[in-house]
Amino acid sequence: MAVTRHSDAVAPLRSSGPVSIWLGRHGRTASASFGRLVHQPFASLMIILVIAVTLAIPAALNLVIKNFTAISSGWDDALDFSVFLDTGISESEAEALARLIAQRADVDDVRLITAEAALAEFKEQSGFGSALDHLPDNPLPHTLVVRPSAANTPQSMTLLREELDSLPETELVQVDTEWVQRFHAILEIVQQAIMIGAGLLGAAIIVIIGNTIRLEIQNRRDEIEVTKLIGASNAFVRRPFLWSGFWFGLFGSVLALGLVQYGLYLLRPTVARLAGLYQSGVTMLTLDLRDSLAIIGVGVVLGLAGSWLAAARHMRSIEPK
């Protein structure tokens, strides 16, 4: 036996550079950690499932919001003005006014709803029915529903509204933007609530993974102690646990994607019916590549964060005695 210096002893890394050493180490640790995961399929699956559900909930809700936002953004352009005329205006006067307004360049179409038609519709829809027959006369005015042309800017819309309002025949101009704005505000609140909820769920994932890694560290306490005793650095000892966290995060997020996609698949017929009602190409927004990568990225980062916290906290306490 020839005794060589220690530096020689650990130097036969001839053909490989530092990067490939690093890659090699991580590759082997990664596959070993993966092996341990597979070795306990039930326990691993439970954790992955919990992570998947926890990730899927905010992802799905966010997708719902995204769809609503997409649908409702179309409503902004198709806003009609309801111009309620003075009750003293006759039907023929109203018709003349409608034709006049329809000639404007910034108006697409004007539709007259006569007082009679409005009352008939109200009777039918309100359910008061025959009670309304006892009214001495029709309290409703004629109404012009003015559809602005699509070329209008917000400024020209305001201008159009003001001009309609200043017509002598006009009692009131009502723009149906308010409910759209309210709807958007509600969507925004819901979206923020989802973000806060997602943050909490993210913290929960860190705790779940951290706890799992903590147990794994406890189980391998002797092994950690021995490897440290024979010269393993904290980084060396930490590495397999970080990889465990990585795998949990990765598989959890991939499963979460699967859950969301399955949910979308279940919703498809319902959405098709809705699209039919709108008689338009309402298509459901699904997870695109960016969303999917974002979910996987979040899962992986949370997995690494959880395992890092657990490893950092417990690794130092395990020192050879």
Partner: protein, 242 residues
């Protein structure tokens, strides 16, 4: 190779494991530390392995003042030293070969590069044929030899062993000592804590006896250097145990 200068180790609670201990072990020596349990043998080895730090005094190992070895550098420092333990400290979830390979893997070798060295180390302790076995299936003596193979696989210049034969019967103990002796012959410095005085006397190696943390019959260093100086050649061959 190892130099203790006025080293005192006091544990929390006031108990003094080593008291102003000074000693020198030269390169290429094979030295035994003896003494009753609690005399400070383990503490002495732990100070060398930086498992413990001295309360006062200086420990120099291979020319390096261990006070200067920072916490983060301890792993790299330990990799320079081979360590053998009474309870082997093997990992029972993997085969013998993986246990022996561990120091090489820690040092960054790929398992493939490590394989040749692992087999060489196992060959030296006579366990090449048990490479694939789980250490649990081996006898205590064999397990200890696996521990030794793991300690020498990185070819350290210094090997420390804490009661390596503590759990072994006389025949196995002799076998283990014989292996140690062979390493010593090729230049490895060995420091072995043991209470098996009969066995040590057979080997004819230098003996440091500790009692309550102090050297007993403090050896005259000059005298020792005369016997075990630079041209110290391990004895043996005619004492019947080789």
């Amino acid at each position: 190779m190892i130099h203790f200068e006025n080293v005192t180790k006091r544990f929390p609670g006031g108990q003094e494991a080593l008291s102003a201990l000074s000693l020198t072990i030269d390169k290429g020596e094979m030295v035994f530390v003896t003494g009753h349990s609690g005399a400070g043998k383990s503490t002495l080895l732990k100070l060398i392995a930086l498992i413990e730090r001295p309360t006062s005094g200086q420990v120099v190992v291979d020319g390096k003042d261990t006070r200067r070895v920072r916490r983060r550098k301890i792993p790299a420092y330990r990799r320079q030293i081979g360590m053998v333990f009474q309870d082997h400290k093997l990992l029972y979830d993997r085969p013998v070969s993986d246990n022996v390979a561990l120091p090489l893997i820690i040092a960054g070798l790929s398992p493939r590069d490590a394989g040749k060295r692992v087999r060489a180390a196992l060959d030296q302790v006579g366990l090449l044929h048990k490479e694939k076995k789980n250490p649990e299936t081996l006898s205590a003596g064999e397990q200890q030899r696996v521990g030794i193979a793991r300690a020498i696989v990185t070819r350290p210049k210094l090997l420390i062993a804490d009661e390596p034969t503590g759990n072994l019967d006389p025949d196995l103990s002799l076998e283990v000592m014989r292996i140690f002796r062979r390493f010593n012959e090729v230049g490895v410095t060995l420091l072995i804590a043991s209470h098996d005085i009969a066995l040590i006397d057979k080997l004819g190696c230098r003996r440091i006896e500790l009692e309550e943390g102090r050297l007993q019959q403090a050896p005259d260093e000059d005298d020792f250097l005369a016997h075990f100086g630079d041209d110290y050649v391990p004895q043996g061959g005619d004492d019947g145990w080789r």
